[in-house]
């Protein structure tokens, strides 16, 4: 009995100490065309984060030209230069740095880009990523003309596995620094390795499929060159291989949920739940795609809920390029809303603009539910 209790305690203890990958967002969240969609990871997820922790974004439905951005929510710029626009592989990872922590804790992280879907996002402790340094220099300074590279032998990558990351430890990084990881025949080991942005103290390339392993494997596992690390605007000091040992945590009780996704029905230009803050910081872009057959007799109807206790409830429809008012006047119109549908009628100037370039919805103190294109001529 005593032994059983001891074993049980040991088992519980070992389970408690088991490294886990904590899910912070449950999708799906579609990041569609044109940099229009995004989702902000809440600050609470990063309250206990520390430098070295790894954020992992699992994705699917990736189109060939898809890009992901990991942005500072207030400025919409990459949280560091390296994360402003990246080709999308599954999964995408970001190693949190000291530079990022204040932003993550105060603002969270905006995930955007185009042409992919987020399935989930997780955080893993730094301790669960074990790095082995496989190359210690001497340091190589990358020339402006991309003519310099460090050559790493195949023996460095003997234990390399799919899912591992190749970590470039760098210094003397200049604006516009890029890294290129090529195989023995000078071909990039994967698309993401062909001009990676380099910033801060390092950059990690995760090997998310077999392709880069095959390229590196061309050099064998001996003393032949297997990987050439080149680029421009930085100094390469060390190279490591990092591997995650954490298991997924199945408890989703604290995870953030992506908003429900809706499929547009005929006549709908928008369907969902978009809340516009009172400071006019939110907007929604409607392209001209579904407005091509519109006539001057048609109307666009905005259906919404008022945000309780919002200081004002207003809407303003703008031009896409200049952000001027959608009508003929140059000054933006701020139209008060009372909870009933807002019906936008057409004049020739408005119609021409929205059929040519679409329009932008800005608003304050409402949650937009639907935008409908109603053709009066067909009634």
């Amino acid at each position: 009995m005593k032994y059983s209790l001891l074993i049980a305690l040991l088992l519980v203890g070992s389970l408690c100490s088991m490294a886990t990958e904590r899910t912070v967002l449950v999708g799906p969240k579609t990041i569609g065309r044109g940099w229009q969609d995004n989702i902000v990871l809440e600050t609470r997820h990063f309250a206990a984060a520390k430098a070295g922790d790894v954020l992992t974004v699992y994705v699917d439905r990736v189109r060939p030209s898809a890009q992901m951005a990991m942005q500072r929510p207030s400025t919409w710029s990459g949280i560091t230069a390296a994360y402003s626009a990246m080709p999308v592989t599954n999964p995408m990872r970001m190693t949190i740095t000291d530079e990022m922590l204040p932003v993550l804790r105060e603002e969270g992280l905006r995930l955007g880009g185009h042409d992919y879907r987020i399935c989930s996002v997780s955080l893993t402790d730094a301790e669960d990523y074990r790095e082995t340094i496989v190359w210690k220099g001497p340091s190589v300074t990358m020339a402006d003309n991309w003519s310099v590279s460090a050559e790493l032998m195949g023996s460095c990558f003997r234990d390399l596995q799919e899912g591992d990351g190749i970590v470039l430890h760098v210094s003397h990084v200049r604006d516009g620094a890029k890294a290129k990881l090529s195989d023995i025949t000078w071909n990039p080991i994967c698309r993401a390795a062909d001009g990676m942005d380099v910033a801060g103290e390092g950059v990690t390339l995760y090997l998310t499929d077999i392709e880069p392993l095959i390229h590196i494997g061309l050099g064998g596992t001996g003393t032949n060159t297997a990987l050439r690390i080149g680029g421009t605007g930085y100094r390469l000091n060390k190279v490591g291989i990092v591997r995650c040992t954490a298991e997924p945590d199945m408890d989703l009780s604290t995870a953030q949920r992506a908003p429900k996704e809706y499929r547009l029905r005929p006549g709908e230009l928008y369907r969902g739940e978009k809340t516009f803050a009172s400071d006019w910081s939110d907007n929604l872009r409607i392209t001209a795609q579904h407005l091509q057959d519109m006539t001057i007799n048609d109307v666009i109807i905005f259906r919404y809920d008022l945000v309780p206790e919002a200081p004002k409830n207003e809407i303003s429809i703008r031009r896409t390029e200049t952000w001027g008012d959608i009508g003929a006047g140059s000054e933006p119109q701020f139209l008060p809303l009372d909870g009933t549908d807002y019906v936008m009628t057409m004049d020739s100037v408005t119609l021409d603009h929205i059929k040519t370039r679409g329009f932008i919805v800005t608003a304050a103190g409402i949650t937009l539910r639907r935008i409908l294109l109603v053709s009066t001529s067909s009634n």
Binding site: G34, R63, S65, G176, T287, Q289, E321
Partner: protein, 372 residues
Amino acid sequence: MKMNLLSVMLVAMLAVGCSPEQPTEPVNPPTEDTTKVEYALVNPNATAETRRVFSILVDNYGRKTLSGTMARVDWNTDEAEYVYRWTGQYPALNCFDFINIAASRDVNPNGWLDYSDISPVENWWKAGGLVSCMWHWQVRANNGTNLTCTPGTEPTETSFNADCLDDTQSADYKQLVKDIDQVAGYLKQLQQAGIPVIWRPLHEGAGNSTQYQGGGAWFWWGAKGSLAYVRLWRFMYDRLVKHHGLNNLIWVWNSQLGDEAWYPGDDVVDIVGRDNYYALSYPLAKEYKQLAASWPNKIITLAECGNGDEVEMSPYTKIWQQGSRWSWFMPWYDHSYQKGSDDHMYAGKQWWLDAQQSGVVLFREDLPSANR
């Protein structure tokens, strides 16, 4: 009461309409009749094959649209093959790009392609396709290593001076002539093979300088403004036509809208083109009509098209219905296209099937034999 009033109005309208004193007007105004305009090549010495190709464009202008594809980057017909796989037909036209002449093996032993091997073009022509060529004219970047078209002062941009024609001793002038002469060599090979070229150099010269406050040229050949651009165009025309005796070129100039000051002149332009990457039916129709009004004696074409990030290109059926009458269309290539896929960044299988079924789009086999 409403009915009574309506009846009275109807009778009154009919009475007015039937009055013999009223001038008679056609019920429908005549549609644009492009056959009334006499389109002519600017080069009086154009080869017979070139005149035949031009006549194909003229004969179909306003009635049908020729389909086109862009080479995947430079010197191939890869995109035309995708269209064939999707539709069972090849597009009528394929465009090649002299973007990588610095890497052509006839001038660079380490090069990865060979423009002096004209077989990709010749095979296409012999199979009945029309040939177009353009030139993303790359020059040395400020860092002395890269090649680029992008003007600017950054290391990877270029300060190459498009306004160097008066300084014949300058390095830029010498490079400019050297590059034109290199391309002339390839075009001459095509001429010797009897292949006319729908030639679209110095494209998008004005960039967006005429569209937005603070806009500018995005290629070095437009960076010095309209005057320098027009001079450069005319210099190239003289160099290719008069100096090199190239009579197989049909000259296409790209308009960026509102850029009449950038037009090189009626005597050196055969066709006016437009590149549009927000290719929806309504804006395209607007642009077509604007260009046709500005250059009524020139054929108007959709030299490049596609969708930006935000929208999908309209089906060609819609584009035609909305009133566009482009001479040809040419979706841009998809660099990240995955072999065997029906999906394409700009114009995938569904788009091409719609074009094929529209009844107004011509494919290679629909063309009269221009090359035989």
